[in-house]
Symmetry: C2
Subunit: 359 residues, 2 copies
């Protein structure tokens, strides 16, 4: 029996790390921050639509973003959007999708993916995912897609595989490690056993449901309690009722770190979560002085600057080194590139000063 392949896009994030470009009303997944001509969620959809039919997508997002999803993915129907009333991290998000599929496509093999990552080598990525799908659809396993690390990044989670490592195959997972410090990251890289955690998972619906029941029984119980509602007109009302009771927990912490049947399929496909202005800077075209390129900008005596201005606006900058300059219609941000982690502080201050309209 061929298990149908479903793709669950997790698009509920309201991240603020790309503020002031990303706003609570239009977070990163609905933006084309890289200037590719497509938003992150659109690129994610097209990546999987190569081998998953449009009607087999589910998009889990905040209800406030329903229209943005439909605008970006006109191929899908409104019933394919699973609207969370509030964010509770990835485990409830995945539980919701799994229970929906149990009702509508119980034999499905699920690909679960974030909606806002960059993948440069789509062909290599597809090979990796298809192998993971083939393995997961025929085994009771939880497969995670790992990324061959290229530097001792401290901003990513790491997956340690059991030796011997099969670079082109399935590897049993030994440990998950959250963001390591620099020393540990260097040791991870040197060992050859560690891979970046892309947050992309493949499993059968019944497998993840079994894992939820065993490892996050409270979450499983909540979603199970409204089992008769999935796929019916009552679903939204029931979801809205149980969601506030869910514990916010990530699938990595709640399931993957504790389950015994976790495998990693590694690949090298030019992945980045583009999680900060700094990581975006690495992927933007730059001139010989290290300033990001773009029309209508003139820089004097400036180096290493990430400059982002609205189309048609001129920026004239002198004497800045390693700064972020992000200009939007109603907010101008200027700060040292190395201080990008302060953006959260900036936002808190703006909010404290009554500037909710700027967030």
């Amino acid at each position: 029996m061929n298990s149908p392949i479903y793709c669950v896009i997790m698009a509920g994030g309201a991240g603020t790390r790309f503020w002031p470009i990303s706003r609570s009303s239009r977070p990163k997944q609905f933006l084309d921050i890289l200037g590719t001509g497509k938003t992150f969620i659109r690129s994610t959809f097209e990546r999987f639509a190569e081998f998953v039919p449009a009607e087999n997508f589910l998009v889990v997002t905040n209800g406030a973003y329903r229209d943005l999803v439909l605008e970006q993915l006109p191929e899908i129907g409104a019933d394919q959007i699973l609207a969370e009333p509030l964010g509770r991290n990835t485990a409830p998000c995945i539980a919701y999708a799994a229970f929906r599929l149990k009702a509508t496509a119980p034999d499905a093999t699920m690909i679960v993916t974030p909606s806002d990552h960059l993948i440069l080598n789509e062909a290599a990525f597809r090979t990796v995912v298809e192998e993971a799908v083939g393995f997961a659809s025929s085994h009771e396993v939880l497969v995670t897609i790992g990324v061959q690390p290229t530097r001792p990044a401290t901003g990513y989670g790491y997956i340690q595989a059991d030796r011997p490592i099969r670079a082109d195959g399935m590897n049993k997972v030994k440990t998950f490690t959250e963001k390591p410090n620099a020393e540990l990251a260097r040791a991870f890289l040197a060992s050859g056993d560690f891979f970046w955690n892309s947050g992309i998972f493949v499993w059968q619906t019944r497998t993840i449901l079994n894992s939820l029941a065993a490892l996050l029984p409270d979450t499983w119980q909540l979603f199970s309690s409204i089992e008769s509602a999935y796929g019916t007109p009552d679903e939204q009302q029931c979801i809205d009722r149980i969601y506030p009771e869910c514990r916010a927990v990530s699938v990595d912490y709640g399931i993957m770190e504790k389950a015994g049947n976790v495998y990693v399929r590694c690949g090298d496909f030019g992945w980045s979560d583009i999680g900060t202005w700094g990581s975006l800077y690495e992927y933007m075209p730059r001139d010989e002085a290290g300033n990001t390129q773009g029309a209508d900008r003139i820089l004097f005596d400036s180096r290493g600057c990430l400059v982002k201005t609205p189309q048609g606006k001129l920026a004239v900058i002198e004497g800045l080194e390693d700064f972020i300059v992000v200009d939007t219609e109603d907010v101008l941000l200027i700060c040292p590139r190395e201080n990008e982690q302060n953006i959260k502080k900036f936002i808190d201050t703006v909010r404290f000063n009554g500037g909710d309209r700027f967030i």
Copy 2:
């Protein structure tokens, strides 16, 4: 016989030193850069309207700014705007006004004033001007208003008075000096004989016409050649014809430095020509870190910054010291405050790159 007092406002400047706030389509005199609630030209008009009737104003400006003048000074009629087809510095501007008055008010005493300066002590200023008017209306003299210098400014012209100096009266002028270097400026200040040249003049119409005939005969000849046209429907057409033939020359260089009947009336009335972002900075309210104040701005670890953003726009700035940050709808300028003289270079580069729409 009482000579009627006329006020000639010179408002033809298309200066770029406040770019990108000032534009060729709306230069500084038509802006409220200081945030007083009034444009410079409006403040200038109101200053003199205290003792000059509205119908006795003439505004010499570029034809392109006619509507801006009428918008700012609804009290005056269209016939009180003398429209230059192109700028030729102050001597032709003054010659035009003098010839118009010769035709319409030959006995007038003229106050000639720039349109874009700051005067903080209006009462002290009025006293000085009224004394100058009293003296000029009864003598064949060219009176210039001098300003008690408060620092060895290198950006102003200086007027040296003959000793003994009468701080509260008329002084014969000994020399005019253009912008001195710092050492000379310090010597000027120490001597007590030197005053800043405010560019405000008082004289009778016939006196300035006699001086023009004697000292700038080519200019006098051109304006004299269309004498029958002043105050008639032919005036504009004639002016448009002769203006391109005028030499561009300042009244300071062409008349004041060479005439023998020049007097200076000094005063201390809080004057500044607000000629640069730096001089504007000195007059803007600042916080304890020396950053200019304003709504919707949050600065971290920043000092000495001049920040100017459109109303309702939020600026979040970290790590800038002594910078100018000027944001407009279509241009963002960021440069060190000490490099404000580079603005001309910026504009040249913008123009070279085809950015005329930004100038």
